[in-house]
Symmetry: C2
Subunit: 287 residues, 2 copies
């Protein structure tokens, strides 16, 4: 563990000055935005950032604007001591950890209306979610002017929203998407996994199993997206997942419906297990 | 007139690199966004920029996103040769003049949902206008990372939209608002003045006359905003202005209604003369 205590910054002006100072010293800046409750997925983003950047900033902020009125903002896990210890151990250069009012002061009323790729799937189930995501990410891009920002493929649609937003609004930061990190049994790591009851934790393996099967089917020559989607639903239902929000195969760039898997495509799943909502995905014919 | 021909840049990546190069050489960067059809108002912004910045960039782009379907996008005046000559004469460092597709390529779909101050007045008469303004200004802030950007007080509500947007989204560029430049008879300079028929050009003086009277009334001790607004309407109607979109006195920061002029307030007017829409304003009790 590094000797120097980890640098924690709480105000917008301090973090901006800190990043600019690092920039001016010629360092390449990496940004890893998180909501805390860090797991190996987040830490893999930090390691990816450290591979290509000399200065890595992690932000920890549970963003109220991306939670719906009936969602889990209040009970979203906050594990700040463990988070800081893990980031310290990795040798992260700075952690930006603002209070809510620092980013959303009284009178705040400007939002980013996210790109069309935000409309289907998560956009149907969580209507204002991506508006909140796009807004906070743009704010962080302005506050922490980084060369590269790192996001996890686990939130596939979010990555596409951010990519399209960054392109449309001429954001200079490069977006790098990093692979999903999984538990030994295949469950994609997520801060929300800790909500699962022991029984639902067992059932949750069905998501990655359904996605593995989708990849196998496509590798085996299946090209109808409906056949792949149907098989995924079967696997989920057989495992006892009763609430499937969606289990689909769509265009990997636009997330639009496709009949045939004749272009880069992605299988996307969202289910509810008890009161917990889980998502996962796998790229198909990615090469 | 400077010997060096004026530098014209047409692509997003070239302008960004040009601005960054100037920044890295230690120069303070000024940005003057325009839609061309330049008049003394625009040129006063350039001069203000040159006073505090060593490198001044002017953008010329008639932004389709800020025109409504029945507005004057197609016939908006384009006087590019005269514009470039005037900017050359002033010694502007670079002009960014992109094609429409460079800023709004196929698939473009991310917008800035402007702050609450965009809702009244112009927001009622031009529903998508400020969405388009906020979006293009944010794009330009990203493409031309300036220290200071200069806007004319003539578009008072637009200035407040941009100020609030910049604050909400943590835009690092400082916003400077410059005074209205007027014709000798008081008419605020505007690219749309050239649309006016000779008769309407005469009537148009009523806007600044009504505003002058508002300032006089407030200096004379009138504090009811309705009394000031009523007097402005009288002056406009007497001059033969039949279509008054609004003539009001509101809070200068929020543009919200006020009964008493007991805080920084602004008188705002929008009228139609023939098929031309004119706006003008004056700060009241500003000191």
């Amino acid at each position: 563990m590094p000797d120097v205590p980890i640098q924690i910054i709480r105000t917008a002006s301090d973090i901006r000055h800190g990043i600019l100072a690092a920039r001016h010293s010629g360092k390449r800046i990496g940004l890893v935005p998180t909501m805390g409750a860090l797991h190996e997925g987040h830490l893999s983003l930090v390691r990816a950032a450290q591979k290509v950047c000399e200065f890595v900033a992690v932000t920890i902020f549970v963003n109220p604007a991306q939670f719906g009125p009936n969602e889990d903002f209040d009970k979203y896990p906050r594990t700040i001591d463990e988070d800081l210890e893990a980031l310290h151990e990795l040798g992260v250069d700075v952690v930006f950890m603002p209070e809510r009012d620092e980013l959303y002061p009284k009178g705040f009323s400007t939002y980013v209306l996210p790109p069309a790729v935000a409309d289907p799937l998560e956009g149907q189930y969580r209507p204002e979610h991506f508006r909140g995501v796009a807004t906070i990410v743009l704010k962080l891009f302005n506050l922490l002017p980084a060369d590269v920002a790192f996001f996890g493929q686990k939130d596939f649609q979010q990555c596409q929203v951010i990519r399209h937003m960054a392109e449309d609004l001429n954001v200079p930061t490069e977006i790098q998407v990093c692979p999903i990190i999984r538990e030994p049994d295949g469950l994609a790591m997520s801060s929300r996994n800790r909500y699962l009851s022991p029984e639902d934790r067992v059932r949750a393996v069905a998501l990655s199993q359904a996605l593995d099967e989708a990849v196998r089917q496509v590798q085996g020559g299946t090209i109808e997206s409906s056949a792949v989607a149907e098989r995924m639903r079967d696997i989920l239902l057989k495992a006892g997942v009763n609430k499937i929000d969606y289990a689909v195969v769509v265009d990997a760039d636009t997330l639009g419906a496709i009949d045939q898997i004749d272009r880069p495509a992605v299988a996307l799943i969202a289910v509810r297990l008890g009161s917990t909502r889980l998502i996962d995905n796998a790229l198909l014919n990615a090469e």
